[in-house]
Subunit: 307 residues, 2 copies
């Protein structure tokens, strides 16, 4: 069911990511010329580093796809709204990588923000991304002609997803997971909060901003939650197969972190579970009669992508 | 010019602070029952510790006073709006006290949040206060019947004040100040950003939410900026006199941090400068024909308070 307007996933991603990068450049420039004008150079550099270090830009691309699926048209203002989700994602990565959290040296093959610009600048710059995202979303909504109720819903969902229900909740379960094996339900809950909250909010915000009906918004949330879970299972599968390459064999149970889908389900069943989630995501759209080549292709991409 | 409705500053503060504390309790309870429900116990405790550790609650009290001065009535929803400013203040204190920033052990005679609940919980919990404040302000505006334009302005000002223009900007100049002596202009700019931004936003948000005219909002901003500066000068004076008690003499220039108002102006002139700012604050209200016993008394309190 490839419609003539969908250029295929590769070209869709290519043009979408380019637009998102342009929107993120605008975000950083607005910050630097606006309320970040008097900020110290290190914090300004930390913001630039954290926001403009590549990545798949999956959240804003999903937001735009949902926005279009619900009747919106791709325009710079829509990308500004979508980019707000990436600002929140960047905030969470900057803070997650800190020495007192994951103490990560590298991300996407580059030194992490705190390794380049220091801990202090990373904490300050990361936290500054939250109000930056809120301001950007509010302005983008006004520019897109969202009415009051929709603009408020967008701001509310963005802030909820930035808050504890999202990353912070997951962080906890993450740490818990280091000490003992999570049950399957806990594992789902962990990822529903950690990755799922922001992925689901991405499509939900796109749908709300486009003025979708309540049923369509619900369908899109169902889609977002399912692909959020699929995303994480795929991540675990990628990690396990990468370890297999390094180890020269499939890692044994003892070598695997118990609190992963591969450890809990085995590689084949984990893969099957990811595909089930993709089916569930597409089923949610289908049940509401929402057709979107982009959302369909993105759901499959989530489990078929590389790391 | 004490009107019959103003009970005197002491009683005004007492009842105002009690209402603010109640609103902050509601904030924390909403967080714990809402988007903080799945959060780890340490982060939840860090939020509670950072938000409910006393203090003068000057920002929300100023917000309410401006709200009333511009025609609003004191009601729980107005305190919820006002409390959002204290959440932002609490976020900035939690992060400022971190080991990689001021590395403070005590605040208001109690152990700082990171000393009790750890660095990670303090970073996560502190950052969570930003979306918490944004959500609370949006909901409070809706409850107070603010129209769309006002609610957006409130959210925008709150986010700007939480962002780099506020604390982060000041943080930089603070650090700069450790290395060399700031000029008088830099010193004003430092405090305009650091303390002033959130104090001015407090009264501005109160005025906007009450539906004040543009002129009245401008007057209230002028008031807020002047008392912000007065507040910081008074702080420096209090620090210098406290050091004098400890040292048994007025500290010499060499013993004083150069980048303080006392070092730059001397004790007597610094005191005079604080009083000038109070006059400027009252003059701004006067010029707009805004009469408020509470705002007048609070302006004087800012320079006459203890630490």
């Amino acid at each position: 069911m490839i419609s003539s307007s969908f250029p295929g996933l590769e070209r869709y991603l290519e043009s979408g990511v380019a637009e998102v990068e342009a929107a993120l450049e605008r975000s950083v420039a607005r910050f630097e010329g606006g309320f970040g004008a008097g900020v110290d150079p290190a914090t300004r550099s930390a913001v630039r580093h954290g926001v403009l270090s590549g990545g798949k830009r999956l959240r804003p691309v999903l937001c735009i796809a949902a926005y279009e699926a619900c009747g919106g048209t791709r325009e710079p203002g829509a990308y500004d709204l979508a980019a707000a989700l990436e600002l929140i994602h960047a905030f969470s990565l900057m803070h997650d990588d800190l020495p007192c959290m994951d103490d990560a040296e590298l991300r996407r093959g580059r030194l992490t923000t705190h390794r380049v610009h220091g801990e202090e600048a990373t904490i300050l710059g990361g936290a500054a991304l939250i109000p930056m995202a809120a301001l950007q979303a509010l302005e983008a909504c006004a520019g897109l002609g969202c009415d009051e109720a929709r603009a408020r819903r967008v701001a509310r969902r963005l802030m909820e997803a930035s808050g504890a229900g999202g990353m912070v909740g997951g962080q906890w379960l993450d740490l818990l997971g280091e000490g003992r094996t999570l049950t399957k339900n806990e594992l789902d809950e962990l990822h529903r909060r950690k990755t799922g909250a922001l992925l689901a909010a991405s499509v939900e915000i796109g749908a709300i901003a486009a003025g979708a009906s309540d049923d369509d918004v619900e369908a899109v949330i169902g889609y977002g939650q399912a692909i959020g879970l699929a995303f994480q299972i795929a991540d675990d599968v990628l990690d396990a197969t990468a370890s297999a390459e390094t180890l020269g064999k499939i890692p044994s149970d003892a070598e695997l972190d118990k609190s992963t889908y591969v450890a809990q389900y085995g590689l084949a069943d984990a893969r099957a579970r990811a595909r089930e989630q993709v089916d569930e995501a597409l089923g949610a759209l289908d049940a509401a009669g929402l057709r979107s080549d982009a959302l369909e292709a993105l759901a499959r991409y989530v489990v078929e992508r590389g790391k």
